[in-house]
Symmetry: C2
Subunit: 339 residues, 2 copies
DNA sequence: CTGAAAGCGCTTACAG
DNA sequence: CTGAAAGCGCTTACAG
């Protein structure tokens, strides 16, 4: 059923019906309420979004472009917290949510990019989606990475990790180690770094964190050896457990393990338990993110709060008001019992 | 930039350019590749989805209509597992995902419903969205509820809970209790039921589960008293803890607590720990869902696996092949250490 | 306050 | 193999 059909049925022009739905000031209250109730009766739910978008150039749809697959993102507590914050703001603004992933490179995805009025990029994207959006001139916000002139939401990963490391490493004889996420590209194996790996571009989040840890350790006069820095390709329990087993079976067993996510830290606690090691007495463990489960872990995790929910709210609000701000959110050290 | 602009620039008709993108068989390979590479060069990303949808009546967008707010859903592990399964299937089929919630009743939402080619309803929806979609004639799948003639994915909540209860209640002297989710409507308080509450429509999931528990208890010759059945308005830790504290401080303290979600069970374990009670020695605890954290809880939860991910995959696959099946998935008892 | 008409950017049946 | 033309369902500037 289209406006034209309704127009015939009601004996009123299509323009007037359109105005009844969209511009109440353009017609009398009486006519409007007659039109609306008639539409209700005959089952016309209102103008189609597609035709309206084509005509007006506005869809009221906001896209979130995730740098991981949607499937992975739904299993990542940080991503879902972030999305929860976004949706709270969008719901209030009567905007709809389209979920996209820059890992997908299909025509269908490219076409879909023409729909949204604005974009939130979460994490540095793969492929060309970012350039296409820039070229489109539509408003966008980038989160957890930076691009010249583009409004953004970030945290200071370096400082946060430096603070965390210097909290956890208290003793000159401590042996710290790092379980790091995505330190290397296109490398699907869990393994320790070699010395040459450390000559690396500091821009990526994982390396900002790594250098923060190293700086924090240095404050206590301690160097973290490359063989005590483990690369995990992806933030999941199974890989984290593998990394934890590797570290905890080293001849010089680390007694402080700095983890780049809470999920990893939870895995370390589990492996430690299996090996009969106590946290934090035998090995201190720190996380990153402060997901809900961090509080529930045994022991509760000392970690950095990323405030994912608030981050989502902020990103959505910046987008909706077409802000140009490049914002830094606080990342707070949360001391619990694991370190 | 539109097809018309490109048409002028390349000296080829709009139809041919459209065909270059959508129907390769309609033009020569040479011309097509020339068109495609020229488009790339001038920065034309392909036909707009909106215009295409208007013309062809197909958007390649699938909507998931959640019965809770999006914000809540993103914090619910079952919902996110389910979404993860859906997105895996959609990505392969080159479909896009629009996330909708039946709790929202705005014109913008109604308009947005005109976009998707198909719908997955997760949980019994509020409001009129369901009727509008039925009227639209678009394909839909309903999950975790039923509607005449509509293809669906469900589990047998009654049987699962009966099995779980009869596993957990082993002794004639056991005192079982239930922490139930959404047993009453529009009731925001955590409180035990009264006898009259038990005369209730059995259709809703929470009541299917409740009656399953009661049946399982009955098999061991035990009745569960209304004052040992607690209503939780929503599935979050804080309310579950409140309910757990209430139950565990009863004069006749329950020693088996059947929880309608893993989140609730995790909260019970936490409260038990705080009260110095051991699980399962002093109080057995069962969950429902089998979320990732169920395995990590101390002790690991005995629960019912809902296979949320597989449920999402199944729902999406049924939708894409326009199936009419009404499917029942297995809900398996998973025995771990908590009961 | 109301309606006739143009046009948003495409796809597709059809003619050549 | 290619192009001219109609039309998808709207919104909006404009005329009355």
């Amino acid at each position: 059923m289209s406006l034209k059909d309704v127009s015939k049925l009601l004996g009123v022009s299509t323009a007037t019906i359109s105005n009844a739905f969209n511009r109440p000031d353009q017609l009398s209250v009486a006519l409007r309420s007659r039109i609306l109730s008639e539409c209700e009766r005959i089952g016309y739910a209102g103008p189609s979004m597609i035709a309206r978008s084509l005509r007006s150039g506005q869809s009221d749809v906001i896209a979130v472009m995730l740098s991981d697959s949607l499937t992975y993102s739904f299993s990542d507590p940080m991503a879902t917290d972030f999305m929860a914050g976004i949706t709270e703001v969008l719901a209030k603004a009567h905007k709809q949510l389209l979920l996209l992933s820059s890992t997908i490179k299909s025509d269908a995805q490219i076409r879909a990019e023409s729909l949204p009025d604005g974009f939130i990029f979460y994490g540095a994207p793969e492929g060309d989606s970012f350039n296409r959006v820039i070229r489109s001139g539509k408003p966008l916000i980038v989160v957890d990475f930076d691009y010249p002139e583009v409004p953004s939401v970030n945290i200071d990963n370096y400082e946060a990790c430096k603070q965390l490391a210097s909290h956890a490493i208290t003793n000159a004889s401590d042996i710290p180690a790092i379980l790091g996420m995505r330190l290397k590209h296109n490398d699907d194996h869990v393994h320790p770094l070699s010395a040459t790996d450390l000559d690396h571009d500091k821009q990526e989040i994982s390396w900002q964190r790594l250098f923060g840890y190293l700086a924090g350790a240095q404050q206590s006069g301690i160097e973290i050896l490359p063989e005590h820095i483990v690369h995990l390709p992806i933030n999941i329990m199974s890989q984290a457990e593998e990394g934890a087993r590797y570290l905890l079976s080293q001849p010089k067993r680390p007694n402080v393990i700095l983890c780049m996510s809470d999920i990893i830290a939870i895995a370390v606690c589990k492996v430690a338990r299996e090996l009969g090691l106590r946290v934090p007495e035998d090995v201190k463990v720190t996380g990153f993110d402060d997901i809900a489960e961090a509080t529930r872990n045994q022991p509760p995790l000392t970690t950095i709060s990323q405030q994912g929910y608030e981050k989502g709210q902020l990103a959505a609000n910046l987008l909706l008001k077409a802000s140009n701000e490049r914002t830094m959110m606080d990342a707070k050290l949360v001391v619990r019992e694991s370190a």
